[in-house]
Chain length 326, copies 4
Amino acid sequence: MPIPAANLYPPFNITRLSHVEYGVTDLAASRAFYVDILGLQVTHEDQSRVYLRAMEERGHHCIILRQSDTAGVSCLGFKLFDTPELDKAAAFFEGKGLPVEWIERPFMGPSFRTRDPWGVPLEFYVKMDRLPPIHQQYRLYNGVKPLRIDHFNMFSANVDEAIAFYGEMGFRVTEYTEDDESGRVWAAWMHRKGGVHDVAFTNGTGPRLHHTAFWVPTPLNIIDLLDLMSTTGYVANIERGPGRHGISNAFFLYVRDPDGHRIEIYCSDYQTCDADLEPIKWSLTDPQRQTLWGEPAPRSWFEEGSLFDGAEIRESDLKAQPIIAP
Amino acid sequence: MPIPAANLYPPFNITRLSHVEYGVTDLAASRAFYVDILGLQVTHEDQSRVYLRAMEERGHHCIILRQSDTAGVSCLGFKLFDTPELDKAAAFFEGKGLPVEWIERPFMGPSFRTRDPWGVPLEFYVKMDRLPPIHQQYRLYNGVKPLRIDHFNMFSANVDEAIAFYGEMGFRVTEYTEDDESGRVWAAWMHRKGGVHDVAFTNGTGPRLHHTAFWVPTPLNIIDLLDLMSTTGYVANIERGPGRHGISNAFFLYVRDPDGHRIEIYCSDYQTCDADLEPIKWSLTDPQRQTLWGEPAPRSWFEEGSLFDGAEIRESDLKAQPIIAP
Amino acid sequence: MPIPAANLYPPFNITRLSHVEYGVTDLAASRAFYVDILGLQVTHEDQSRVYLRAMEERGHHCIILRQSDTAGVSCLGFKLFDTPELDKAAAFFEGKGLPVEWIERPFMGPSFRTRDPWGVPLEFYVKMDRLPPIHQQYRLYNGVKPLRIDHFNMFSANVDEAIAFYGEMGFRVTEYTEDDESGRVWAAWMHRKGGVHDVAFTNGTGPRLHHTAFWVPTPLNIIDLLDLMSTTGYVANIERGPGRHGISNAFFLYVRDPDGHRIEIYCSDYQTCDADLEPIKWSLTDPQRQTLWGEPAPRSWFEEGSLFDGAEIRESDLKAQPIIAP
Amino acid sequence: MPIPAANLYPPFNITRLSHVEYGVTDLAASRAFYVDILGLQVTHEDQSRVYLRAMEERGHHCIILRQSDTAGVSCLGFKLFDTPELDKAAAFFEGKGLPVEWIERPFMGPSFRTRDPWGVPLEFYVKMDRLPPIHQQYRLYNGVKPLRIDHFNMFSANVDEAIAFYGEMGFRVTEYTEDDESGRVWAAWMHRKGGVHDVAFTNGTGPRLHHTAFWVPTPLNIIDLLDLMSTTGYVANIERGPGRHGISNAFFLYVRDPDGHRIEIYCSDYQTCDADLEPIKWSLTDPQRQTLWGEPAPRSWFEEGSLFDGAEIRESDLKAQPIIAP
Ligand SMILES: [Ca+2]
Ligand SMILES: [Fe+2]
Ligand SMILES: [Fe+2]
Ligand SMILES: [Fe+2]
Ligand SMILES: [Fe+2]
């Protein structure tokens, strides 16, 4: 099953991924992790929620931490290009028989909540409160110096179907992994904003959120984070890396927050805005696919993920195995 | 005169700046500079021309060096999103009474040449030969490790008019400098591809090309280039920097090629794809505007530029003076 | 007048430069600069003094800031190898007819204060309180992440005589600048600890302290400091750089503290422990001597320095002029 | 068994480690690895040997590659401070009943070959041909941009005895690992030149050479090397890293040459010249000892090493096990 052609004329115009809401079981502990270790900036907080933005973002938030009895993911947020897109987007989901619920969200204009066909809770909006720039307030930079949210990566029980659906919405594949035996797609990276991806899908029990990624200036910031986590009680939260991905060519580190939500720190992928960009194909058996330097990912990386609130999970029927560290 | 509102629905869809053709008076000397010092990759060359691409580009070329009796700039190239845009673009220029000439260019599909109202030679196309990726062939990285062409900066005798025209084409202002006294715009940065700019305009005798910029991975690559140029006979070609721009927040260096064409090496600006991104305004008298660290640019930087073939230049009527190094 | 041969068998064994005491006119302002901006760690403070160390130092302090009516430098401190060296050192100075005063200093064992023949106040000791390592407490790293004191640079009214005297004490010349016309030494860099220098001498009205330098991990930390100073009210305290020195090959930045005391941030010079290391000679007229990249130093850099308490200054009789920025 | 006190008055004065001679089974393949991948500079070569230096070294060579039927290590070289030290050093070894053979070596002055009590072949000299500096010839920098040889690390069947012997020669312990159960030293790092070590000893079947290390400017050069090796056919030669050592705090990578000789790329340890520097003690069971970030070393790293020519190996009687990757 080949990669479908890019849909250059999608039914509505998504600008980029925007934000995620995590349910966390100890808000103070999560705040400490995201603020004191990662270096995200608090833009609002109350008893039950902490809103955060990264250093070059002017939208009000890219993460919401919400106190909850159980860890989970409430929604993945996407910003639409302009006001007319909102109704077009709602119509698209309604046309698919998917639920569309108009919601009031603090710091955001009109928005609706829906789900993709596998139950992933999605949120679409055009306007979010805009804040003054802080990217030149260098005193505020802390931790890994996160600049912006970069992408979501999800476990999917059927990646071929996921890329068909997200492709219809205008996400374009930049790189993908094929299972040589079945010819099916094992993982795919899809973008809207001109980087390697806004969303990615990995074969596995799904839907679950594999990770949210933040863009940082250089690999040295990732080394700084490793040094910091290692000497402030977070050494066990380092899961994988640092390394360079074969896919995306990005420099990466994966860490786990206090609830196990996985955060990727990411930099130096490449520009993908050309409409005729050719997707790069990798074989699942290529040992440099995951890490250009040859180091396999640990088992946890392939098996653990965050549950989406209200979404039922199922095992993937594609049983092809990636290379896993012993 | 305020910045005009962004045109979110331009008459045709430009994806990004794409390429520039320089007339150079000693092709071998220019090739040495761009290939051996900057590290661009030759994709084709013959007696009269050298075609170059940067490390993450898959389009055939981002610079053409053409042997010429006089130094100059033959055209600035822009890539359109999809085939239908080509006719729409041509119609736009024809509708303005501007010349549209359909041309055959090696390595490119259908293209036309036109001029902006001040005579800047522009070239539009959809398809250029696509080459295999080399961004993971690390043995090829050399010089400053240029990743991609980033932007053009032009002297304009009337920046307000320039941003009105380019704004109509869908370029959106991210930052600008105002002359406090006259209230006129002294310089502006405008983008299509989601970075701080694809094109910028600076008040001065124009139209002339101020510089072409290349994106590199980190500030350390710029330091490497300085060390290399300083010890290979190019110390006099270093014009300004390294430094951090106030405007764009990018880390920069300006160098001059053997004909004096100015090349900027540039990294670490920020993402601008939000349609509601608020332009940042700077005062011409702010000493941190040019260089966040306070160092003014030298006189040559404000006065010297490359002539566009066939364009007549005139002095700007806005005489406001920037801060110039003694 | 050639560089004298290295004295491999000096009368006493100096391990390295160790510390400096600055008289400062506003202790709180100076503390803010050294602690909040540069990132030095306070090891002790009271009403009149702040003691600081850098991140990899285990000696109690490398700088003392002392509240004073006038800005000045009370002493330059040097650490001797072992206890017997202390008496040998005292005997050396007494043998030269120079004053030797045994002093009690907080946090230090037996020490004496003396002066070099031009009045520079020097302090020698063997033992200073040793503190627990903090180089792996990454949460404490701040500002430019200073790792250790690296060197002192002094204006000298007669550099030939200065290098003869310091050479007798076992400082070995690594690089020097000659005035081609007179054949005299215009500046020299001399080491004990195996880097390019512990002390340097520059021709000029002296003796005055030109600067104290701190070693940092990489050039990127210097860029971080520039960004921080530029956005916290210290942009006017940036004097020169960043750049790479021709001499020493180090990457540098010069900043001024609130009293004008000059601090160099410095990294990436080279190892010099070989006894047969050949000094590298530079011409005063070489434009790459000061900055490999060709940028001259500003006038202030050649003319301004800190007075040593109790030392009389005189003009140099060597009038050769370096290259000064316009 | 505690660490013995530093011997501040050794019988002869070693300046630093200097060079190593490797027997290699395919000289062309080894040359390609050390020159084209690591970036060492050839200073002499003939049919049977390639002499190499790093970028800031002025001594003729720090590695000799010698064509051989079997892979091995012919000698570890050390530079003495001054001519009189040569006879003192020879007398020291003769006094221990160890062999002293005066040898003629190309590019070196008077030298002798000896062995430590466990058979490690050592070479001492004062003068080696000095070459013009190349550290500012930036065009020559390649690969990982190696600046200088930094240290040797050896497997030792009795680390307590090794540090007693090398300590007597004036090597001073900076950090060490203790086996909590037996109280014996499991590994130790010892220096002469003012860094964390010139030599280190690790418990294991010995004597064998564990690795030779080269100093590079920054962690980014190590990332560059990983990218280069991964895309030029050397991915399988990457053994461990990148990471930060707990011990020494250095950033590291271990790679294997075509014969399996292990090379460490190393940067950013700390200054150790103080005679009263306190050794830092680590527990063998501390998971951050090897890698501050918690990643254990692979089994090969603990078990494989290079044989010294003519030295018999024996198993260590200390069976304490480090943490090994699964
Ligand atoms: Ca690993
Ligand atoms: Fe990711
Ligand atoms: Fe620019
Ligand atoms: Fe200095
Ligand atoms: Fe090592």
